[in-house]
């Protein structure tokens, strides 16, 4: 299979779906003439023109609202947030309008819109530009929240998101954009369905549930621990809402131990939700309390060494795994 970057996988997904359905269009800051702040949309303007690849002013609430209205009226917008941090000024549009319109109107107005962009911290961009928004949006019924960690999932999930009749919060990892991975050819038209977790690695001693960027961190730790004879099973939920808790629970029933790793703050959120599902559904299989390794509970500091400490570290992941395995 060919290898392409996460960034290109996303672009391919959008281009393929735009070719497939004339109702699909893209709007956001710098998506057109600038070719994308992170070059995810590079080349789309050339292929689809200004009518379908639309540069917006800095007005997230405005263009997110436009997208919701267009979706009410039957179009299928893709909204690119330059980063998800900026979605907070469009929170009303996403939470009050996109998420609720379908139910509030008793099914008269589905909102097939994809909000996408890089999530969580980049590198030394400070407190306001480093939000992991997973907990904000996973809390909302009516939204679906997706966070691919590989190029293949990025493409397959984005294609599914664009075809979905409901609003999708599509989280990407800025530091994942350059990651290369195997992705099927364009004609494969591979869709990755929502609500199906991926067993990223099979193991027998402990289950680690992780999504998005920290997956790579966990893989490194798992490699190192394999040498010490600890067999780590890695589950990537891929979509946080809907959540494939069955796969997670099945794995935990096998390994009897679980660590949940995430880059959102530790208070609540999908990380805590997953722990809750496990304690409810796999209680009698647990040999240790489920632990989490997370970003620290502070606004992101600027200084590099502090940021490196705040972002969920290999050390914290390893410590949690060792603890649930009673190795300490």
């Amino acid at each position: 299979m060919r290898e392409i970057r996460y960034r290109d996988a996303l672009r391919e997904a959008m281009a393929e779906e735009m070719r497939r359905d004339r109702h699909v269009f893209l709007l956001g800051e710098e998506v057109g003439h600038y070719q994308g702040a992170y070059k995810v949309t590079q080349g789309l303007l050339d292929e689809f023109g200004e009518r379908r690849v639309i540069d917006t002013p800095i007005a997230e609430a405005g263009f997110s609202g436009i997208a919701v209205g267009a979706a009410m009226a039957g179009l299928r917008p893709i909204v690119e947030f330059m980063t998800w941090n900026f979605s907070l000024v469009a929170f009303d549009q996403i939470v009050n309008n996109a998420a609720k319109m379908y139910q509030m109107s008793a099914g008269q107005f589905p909102i097939p819109v994809v909000f996408r962009g890089p999530n969580a911290s980049a590198r030394q961009v400070g407190a306001q530009h480093s939000h992991a928004v997973d907990p904000f949006y996973t809390n909302v019924p009516g939204l679906q929240v997706v966070y691919p960690s590989t190029p293949r999932d990025a493409k397959g999930l984005l294609k599914s998101a664009i075809r979905d009749d409901n609003p999708v919060v599509f989280l990407e990892g800025e530091t994942l954009y350059n990651v290369k991975g195997e992705v099927p050819d364009e004609d494969a038209d591979e869709l990755v369905p929502f609500g199906e977790a991926r067993v990223a690695r099979e193991g027998s001693d402990v289950t680690v549930v992780v999504w998005g960027r920290p997956l790579a961190t966990v893989e490194k730790v798992a490699d190192a621990m394999a040498e010490d004879g600890v067999s780590v099973e890695i589950i990537d939920p891929r979509t946080l809402r809907p959540l494939d808790h069955e796969t997670i629970v099945r794995s935990v029933k096998k390994t009897n131990r679980c660590v949940v790793v995430h880059e959102h703050w530790p208070y609540g959120g999908p990380g805590a939700e997953i722990v809750d599902r496990i304690q409810r559904e796999a209680f009698d299989w647990l040999d240790a309390p489920v632990l989490r390794a997370t970003n620290l509970d502070v606004p992101m500091p600027y200084a590099l060494h502090l940021e490196n400490e705040v972002i969920v570290t290999e050390e914290r992941v390893r410590a949690a795994i060792r603890k649930v395995c009673y190795l300490d």
Binding site: P266, F283, A293, D297, Y326
Partner: protein, 423 residues
């Protein structure tokens, strides 16, 4: 400065101790005299109390671990200190606190970021500083949910399974070992079935018993002298005393009187109140009588000090108190050391006569049997009598046959004329 704290030596003869129960958890702040842990020594379960204020930064050993004195068990310090270097030291195995572990227990200091080694991100909420909580000891079996399920499925009595997890939690590993290892099968055995013995790890007390009594029998040259006594006067005296005490709801036992008789005899034959000390013999100036007390998983020998100077009633009260606290494992080590003579009584089990093993470094132990009702010849007449046999074990290095016999005669003399206890 954070500091590694070793297992405190809580009894003079403690050569190892079991960390029976942690009374604190990581992160707990302790103040002076707060309970830190309970340590099961060869003698008793001792309370380890903090000497200085500080925070328990890390607990290094689970409950149930058997350790040598001064083995690293915890890291004390101030909240937030970086203890990675100390942990590395512990991991290397060259850690050990300096001097008395108990003294180090409170060593405290400042600085650092909290929970650097904690796998969970620490919530920003301020940490409450609570006094060391007292966790329930005994009773509740700590086990992971998985272990509980496996316990149900395999019909395992989890209280029998040693737990190796935090706080003695039984974890899957323990169950796996339990299931793989020899163990009693519930239900009746099939005919002809060969069943392996149930293996139970030695408790600290059993280890001590094993070690000390083996040592005694192997190194102390025992010899035994048995004497039969008329217990009638003793029983009469007891009846009289108890009638007197009835109003106070008190009673003295036969053994209390025997103990007193021993004490008087030791005073009368002071050469027998001696211990072998390698190149010397110690002749004791005090009469401290050790009493063997059976406790659920062994026996202990609390000491009645200056028994020769105490009245029977006082001895009785003291023995009762010592026995109660022995069964509750509440005796202090010093209450179980430095006796000069031992008394063991199995009369209540109907034993007529037995020979006891000397409790070193004491020179003698008296083993007393039951009071027998039987016909005796008195002044040519056969009359009902009450007899009691006693066997004295002597350390021949200290007490020769004649001396032992002399002491035993003195004992018999006092026993048969209880009024001599007053002299």
């Amino acid at each position: 400065m954070a500091k590694i704290v070793g297992l405190p030596k809580l009894s003079p003869t403690m050569e190892e101790g079991t960390l029976a129960r942690w009374a604190v958890s990581e992160g707990d702040r302790v103040e002076v005299d707060d309970l830190v842990a309970e340590i099961e020594t060869d003698k008793a379960t001792m309370e380890w109390r903090a000497f200085d204020p500080g925070v328990i930064l890390k607990i290094l050993v689970p409950e149930g671990e058997i350790l040598a004195p001064d083995a690293p068990v915890a890291i004390f310090g101030e909240e937030g200190e970086d203890i990675s270097a100390l942990l590395a030291e512990v991991a290397k195995g060259d850690a050990g606190s300096n001097g008395d572990g108990a003294e180090a227990a409170g060593a405290a200091a400042t600085s650092g970021a909290p929970g650097a080694e904690a796998p969970e991100a620490v919530p920003a909420a301020p940490r409450e500083e609570t006094p060391a909580p007292s966790r329930p000891s005994g009773g509740r079996v700590l086990a992971s949910p998985l272990v509980r399920r496996l316990g149900r499925e395999h019909d395992i009595d989890l209280s029998q399974v040693p737990g190796s997890g935090p706080g003695g939690r039984i974890i899957k590993r323990d169950i796996d070992e339990w299931l793989a290892g020899p163990r009693p099968t519930p239900g009746a055995p099939a005919r002809g079935e060969r069943r392996p013995p149930r293996v139970e790890k030695l408790t600290s007390m059993r280890r001590t018993i094993a070690r000390r009594l083996t040592e005694s029998k192997q190194t102390v040259p025992h010899f035994y002298l048995t004497i039969d006594t008329d217990a009638g006067p003793l029983m009469a005296a007891r009846k009289q005393i108890n009638a007197h005490l009835a109003d106070d709801g008190e009673k003295v036992s036969v053994n209390d009187l025997i103990l007193k008789a021993c004490a008087v005899a030791l005073r009368r034959v002071p050469e027998a109140n001696a211990s072998f000390a390698g190149d010397a013999i110690h002749y004791h100036q005090v009469v401290d009588v050790s009493v063997a007390v059976a406790v659920p998983d062994g026996l202990v020998t609390p000491v009645v000090r200056d028994a020769d100077l105490k009245g029977v009633r006082e001895i009785s009260r003291e023995v009762r108190d010592l026995a109660t606290r022995a069964r509750d494992k509440k005796l202090m080590p010093e209450e179980m050391t430095d006796g000069t003579f031992s008394l063991s009584n199995l009369g209540m089990y109907g034993i007529e006569d037995f020979a006891a093993v000397i409790n070193p470094p004491e020179g003698m132990i008296l083993a007393v049997g039951t009071v027998r009702e039987e016909p005796v010849v008195k002044d040519g007449q056969i009359v009902p009598g009450q007899r009691m046999r006693a066997t004295l074990s002597c350390d021949h290095r200290v007490v020769d046959g004649a001396l032992g016999a002399r002491w035993l005669a003195a004992f018999k003399d006092v026993l048969e004329q209880p009024v001599l206890m007053l002299v």
